[in-house]
Amino acid sequence: MAGAIIENMSTKKLCMVGVALLLLQVLAFLVGGLIAPKPTSYVNPVAMKCVDIRKNHHSSKWFLPWGKGQCKSIQTFDEATNGHIEANDIVFAAHIPNSQFEMSPWFQFMLVVLQLDIAFKLNNYIEDNSMVNLNVSVAYRDDLKEEWKELASSMEQRKLNCILPVEKTVANEGRQYDCDVIPLMELGSVSHKYYLFNIRLPVSEKKKSNIAIGEIRDLHVVCIFQNGGFTMVWFAMKTFLTPSIIIIMIWYWRRITMMTRSPVLLEKVIFALGFSMTFINIPVEWFSIGYDWTWMLLFGDIRQGIFYAMLLSFWIIFCGEHMMDQTERNRISVYWKQVGPIAFGSCCLFIFDMCERGVQLKNPFYSIWTTDVGAEIAMAFIIVAGICACLYFLFLCFMVYQVFRNISGKQSNLPEMSKARRLHYEGLIFRFKFLMIITLACAALTVVFFITTQITEGNWKLGDLSIELNSAFFTGIYGMWNLYVFALMFLYAPSHKHYEDGHSNDGAGMSSGEEIQLTTTITHIDGPTEVYRLAGKEAQE
């Protein structure tokens, strides 16, 4: 890998590449900030309180909050008390979206949470650790004249976390509790136009079901989905980035195969990184517009996971290969100590994701967090993954420290070395420092942007321009890592300049033979004999 393009490039050209990349980066942010709308939207209708007037509550009938075939409804529950209607006769009905709108496959996913308005009464309050039992059924249709078809239905139990912000006194009767949102379901694709939610809260004294949950006033159904416009911008970006990365990958691999030696580990890892980036980039999501692929969310998680695992492994191997400590590495097995935690942590997260989103493919209401045991297991997985991440970063920091120690050691010896060795080491040091800076900049940018979007409102106004920060964050960061991988493959591809040098004989003092030796053993420059011995071994192989 000696003689990468980055070393042989003139400063002017390098600056030009840098500026070009920077411009593209700004462009990526602007695409999200100016063109795309905010990443997600929501609708939060208040569920209509329908009354099931039939005697024995057949489950086949759907209750519509409005429109044709509207259910018999009540405004407040006081009406029900006067009309001798019981809690078991109440069906909360919500139609998503409102009548003039249609849901669309461009929304990609749909996340439904519930919010309960519960009033405090001195002798009807929420007991600690109360659970609420929900009998939920969801139906869909694609035409206003069609019959509703069942999508899913289930009996679900959720924790009711509510706090009364004031003292529990007579004077505060009627005040509302502050309740956490209750996650209800998650759909990985929005392939139908209309959705209908029918939710019952069955009361049973025998089974202790829905007892001591206070006096419910309203149920809000909050439905979150990705913005169609954002999806379009996102797809466009993916469609544009895929060929860019593929082209540079082909170019990079051709450069390597053109060399007389077989590729070294670092080159393979960079190629793998490019591959995992392409894996994320490939816009298979286009199919979700036509097909009802509910596993898209899970697939997206897996793709991201693979990329991050690859990126972390790359950093470790890159550090290792620039160690300059006279040890032969060039094999992935040498790095088991560092790559092990990455693999293990990724596996943990994968299992966790399979338990959450994998099971959701079968039952969209499922969530590992709703049961105590499930939540503990999930937490365990996340903690283990967290420990792995910490371990990894300790290793990484230690390696970076070692490299810098070696660099300062080598730098003092540089003037005494032969020209070839000096160039080699200078190249190594430059390459390492360059990547260090770029990586730190990228990581810092990611973190800063993440924090900015978390603490500020999602929208900045500059005069007439309004910038969608959240969208800018997503497109910007996504573009940034793509550019990172692109730059890596471009700048760290083996340079062919020495051939030209050889032809022109400009007296660089670097015979092609020596160049190849340096290439094959990267860090190993102890004595010429050793080098020749190793080179010979390679040749035999």
């Binding site: 709308p37 929501y42 008390t81 019981e86 169609g228």
Partner: protein, 375 residues
């Protein structure tokens, strides 16, 4: 006063409303002339039921000309946004109810006087009480409009339920339906402030000062709703991490809004009109009021005694608390006139069993309590 808030109605309260009603009748008779003098207000929408616009479409009756208390500008808005009027009425009602709750134990208890001017002549004085009333009713409108907007009842707001032109679903694909509370705020600003904006008072006049005061207090009320709206969020990034978060505004319990505006009432700033026709604080040493603060021009009238010119109803016949040393204590409430003592039987529901809705099984407990009424 018999809204859903007061399920547990005690004899105490019903007797109180009885007295109030009596007072109302007497004051109505005496205020006969005043109704002509006192300016009609849009607050009257709270007391005169606004019929649902559908009925007007069927009956082909002009809704807006029937409503009393609207200014010309408000009437125009009413014609443009007929479906909003019911909710404005509801909002005003919530505001008044909250006002009555907050001032339950005060000498002035926010009682309504007649169906047109609603609060009677007291509102003509630019007092703290007037400031509170303007703020809370503006807040009530924001609250009600936002609520109706979210429920899809209004044709012009984001996620409406009524049919609109065909090209909208594209917008929807691009951006979602927008914020209900913001819509409520904007509409309430248009509607409530219309009354003050359309009049051109001579510069430096008392009327202009009052108009500025009302504008400021209306704004403070509207902002209270906006400020107190809770932000609820849900994380849903990769594997449920918080890299992607969606937040939405949730209207606060209106009691919270009432308490907040009551705090503002207690710290309201006394103002006067300066030479540049702007309101300035009388006492310049204090921090100037922000857009969220209440302001007033005149000192409050004496609410102890009935006074036709100020519109004060007096505290005669009001209930008081013998042991309390606060405003509800008999000493302060009756303004030193003394009180009468009664014994009443109070029936309360006790040992109740509840479900989350519609089912209550209680025993009745009776208790004999002493009641004190101002002379």
């Amino acid at each position: 006063m018999q809204g859903p808030l007061c399920l547990r109605r005690t004899a105490e309260r019903s007797s109180m409303t009885g007295i109030l009603r009596l007072l109302l009748v007497t004051s109505l008779l005496s205020c006969w002339k005043q109704a002509l003098v006192g300016a009609n207000s849009w607050w009257s929408l709270a007391l005169n039921p606004v019929q649902r616009p559908e009925m007007y479409i069927i009956g082909a009756q002009p809704l807006c000309s029937q409503l009393t208390g609207l200014s010309p500008g408000q009437r125009k808005l009413c014609q443009l946004y007929q479906d909003h009027m019911v909710y404005i009425g509801e909002g005003a009602k919530t505001g008044i109810k909250e006002c009555q709750h907050q001032f339950k134990h005060r000498r002035w208890n926010c009682s309504t006087v007649d169906n047109n001017s609603v609060f009677g002549r007291v509102m003509q004085i630019g007092s703290r009480e007037a400031a509170f009333t303007y703020a809370i009713s503006a807040a009530g409108v924001v609250n009600a409009i936002s609520r109706a907007c979210r429920e899809g009842e209004l044709s012009t707001c984001g996620c409406s339920r009524t049919p609109r032109p065909k090209d909208l679903p594209r917008d929807w694909l691009w951006g979602g339906c927008g914020d209900n509370v913001e819509y409520g705020y904007r509409f309430a600003k248009e509607f409530v402030d219309a009354r003050e904006r359309e009049k051109n008072f001579p510069k430096g006049s008392e009327e202009q000062a009052r108009s500025l005061m009302n504008l400021q207090n209306n704004e403070a009320g509207r902002r209270a709703v906006y400020k107190l709206a809770d932000v609820a969020c849900k994380c849903h990034g990769v594997s449920g991490s918080c890299s992607l978060k969606t937040c939405w505004l949730q209207l606060a319990d209106f009691r919270k809004v009432g308490e907040y505006i009551k705090e503002k009432y207690d710290s309201a700033a006394s103002m006067r009109l300066n030479k540049r026709n702007k309101l300035e604080q009388v006492n310049q040493r204090f921090n100037p009021p922000t857009a969220e603060d209440l302001v007033y021009l005149d000192p409050s009238p004496d609410y102890c005694l009935y006074n036709e010119t100020t519109g004060s109803l007096g505290t005669h016949g009001r209930q008081c608390n013998k042991t309390s040393e606060g405003m509800d204590g008999c000493e302060l409430m009756c303004c030193g006139r003394g009180y009468d003592q009664f014994k009443t039987v109070q029936v309360e529901r006790c040992h109740c069993k509840f479900h989350w809705c519609c089912f209550v099984k209680c025993k009745k407990c009776t208790e004999i309590v002493d009641q004190y009424v101002c002379k």
